[in-house]
């Protein structure tokens, strides 16, 4: 299918893009920002969205690239998934981002799709929103009035709805380094190779020193378990102090599994072709257990 008609604006700089976006939105136009277009263009072609104009920032020289900034890594919004995956800074310092990005769609889509685009699209079935939520990332957004920061916990407002005000563009994300002792895993369940996650789990786990295998801290967030990514606070709390000793040893209950059985608490799973809420709740519990085991193992 062919998209409904729209005006096309290709600004020469980010400043110009902010101005164009602000002006158009002030005039009452329904404007979308186009970066790689790998989520937006299919929506337009299926006529699920009818913007009156696109502001194409995809060819701008900045903000793109990955930068080690001490306590965090800054990932420019226009950095492609492919570039993120290839970045040694990402792989070494924020490995959960690399693990999840490698599961996004397929190579051709990763060549064009962008880190910032995936997040600003705010699709709860996308893999990166849950990662950003689990890692307590900070979103940096810009408008003609300047920059402001939005914590990940406030960025995802509703289905496909980020906390961007009219005229604001996401320029990048600060991804905190969690430092030594942390293990990471992204567990994704999907029916075909390149499809969206039916359910996904982003997990970061820190075990106590001395090799005791006791969880000191855990960060868990879920993909596609509601209109926004969901932070599994109940699991995080229940995991604290849980032991990674082989399950069933000494007849002791598997506290990791008990903790992960709370993964669906507070979620509002959707229904689609791939399953209903009960199935997704089940998946969330099983996949969280796998993710935590892999991250802490």
């Amino acid at each position: 299918m062919i998209s409904a008609p729209f005006d096309y604006i290709r600004p020469a700089s980010l400043e110009e893009a902010c101005r164009a976006l602000g002006d158009a939105e002030e005039a009452g136009d329904d404007v979308k920002v186009l970066a790689g277009g790998q989520s937006l263009l299919p929506l337009l072609r299926l006529r699920l969205a009818y913007p009156s104009a696109l502001v194409d920032i995809g060819r701008l020289p900045e903000p793109r690239g990955v930068e080690d900034r001490g306590d965090h890594v800054f990932v420019g919004a226009l950095t492609t998934h492919d570039e993120v995956m290839r970045s040694s800074v990402v792989r070494e310092l924020i490995p959960l981002v690399a693990l999840a990005t490698a599961t996004v769609a397929d190579p051709a889509v990763r060549h064009r799709g962008t880190f910032g685009g995936s997040l600003a699209h705010a699709d709860p079935a996308g893999d990166l929103p849950a990662v950003a939520l689990a890692l307590d990332c900070v979103f940096v957004v810009r408008s003609v009035d300047g920059e402001r920061e939005i914590p990940a916990s406030e960025f995802f407002v509703d289905y496909l709805e980020p906390a961007l005000e009219p005229g604001e563009i996401l320029v990048g994300v600060r991804v905190p380094k969690l430092g030594p002792g942390w293990g990471f895993h992204y567990e994704k369940f999907h029916r075909t190779a390149q499809s969206w996650a039916t359910v996904g789990v982003a997990a970061a786990v820190r075990l106590g020193e001395g090799g005791g295998g006791t969880v000191e801290e855990a960060r868990i967030a879920l993909t596609n378990m509601g209109p926004t990514p969901v932070r599994a606070h109940a699991v995080e709390a229940a995991l604290r102090g849980a032991d990674f000793a082989p399950s069933g040893s000494n007849g002791a209950p598997d506290r990791i599994r008990e903790a992960c059985d709370r993964a669906d608490e507070g979620s509002v799973p959707p229904t689609d072709l791939h399953g209903g809420p009960e199935y997704r709740r089940h998946l969330a519990r099983v996949l969280t257990y796998r993710a935590v085991r892999a991250a802490g193992g």
């Binding site: 062919i2 604006i9 263009l41 072609r45 060819r59 499809s195």
Partner: protein, 173 residues
């Protein structure tokens, strides 16, 4: 209407395009490059895969205006005269097609995969082609063909495409 300049299979075209025109429609309907088929409406199937500035892209998920200033290589740009590209030869030799609809995209994705992994394992081929669906489920022969094509390309040691170091910046419209 925006005017774009785009190189396709080594020939430069200047076209006036509606913003909503997809790259695949530019290729097929305006430039006659019907070797690139359209398989789905969702960006899933990969039949329309081309090389855009050196890397694979699904031409149904790219606007023609986004390709302004870019270099596109389609399945039609692989052969040299009457001589097929080694990957085309390999798909023929291994009978890596049944209906043939996915073949152009499979070949473009396979060549892209070899840029990162010139000697891919079966697993690497299967992962590398995850964005390309074969509705006849002829994957076994496709995987064999990609590995055969890789060996032949390595033997010839003459890469058909080189990856541009930097993307060309397009002028603002």
């Amino acid at each position: 209407m925006p005017r774009i300049t785009v190189s396709v299979d080594g020939v430069t075209y200047e076209e006036e395009v509606e913003p909503r025109l997809l790259l695949v429609h530019l290729l097929r309907d305006r430039l006659g490059k019907t070797g690139t088929p359209i398989g789905c409406d969702t960006g899933n199937c990969g039949a329309c895969t081309v090389t855009l500035d050196g890397r694979s892209a699904k031409s149904c998920s790219v606007l023609a205006v986004q390709a302004d200033g870019s270099e596109v290589v389609t399945i039609e740009g692989l052969a040299r005269g009457q001589e097929w590209h080694p990957m085309q030869e390999a798909f023929h030799a291994e009978h890596a097609l049944q209906c043939g609809y996915c073949t152009p995209g499979m070949i473009m994705a396979a060549i892209d995969l070899l840029k990162d992994d010139p000697d891919p394992s079966e697993e690497a081929v299967r992962r590398g082609l995850e964005g390309n669906l074969c509705r006849c489920t002829g994957y076994s022969n496709i995987v064999r063909a990609v590995q055969r094509g890789a060996r032949e390309m390595a033997r010839q040691e003459a890469p058909r495409e080189t990856r541009p170091e930097t993307r060309q910046e397009a002028p603002a419209s």
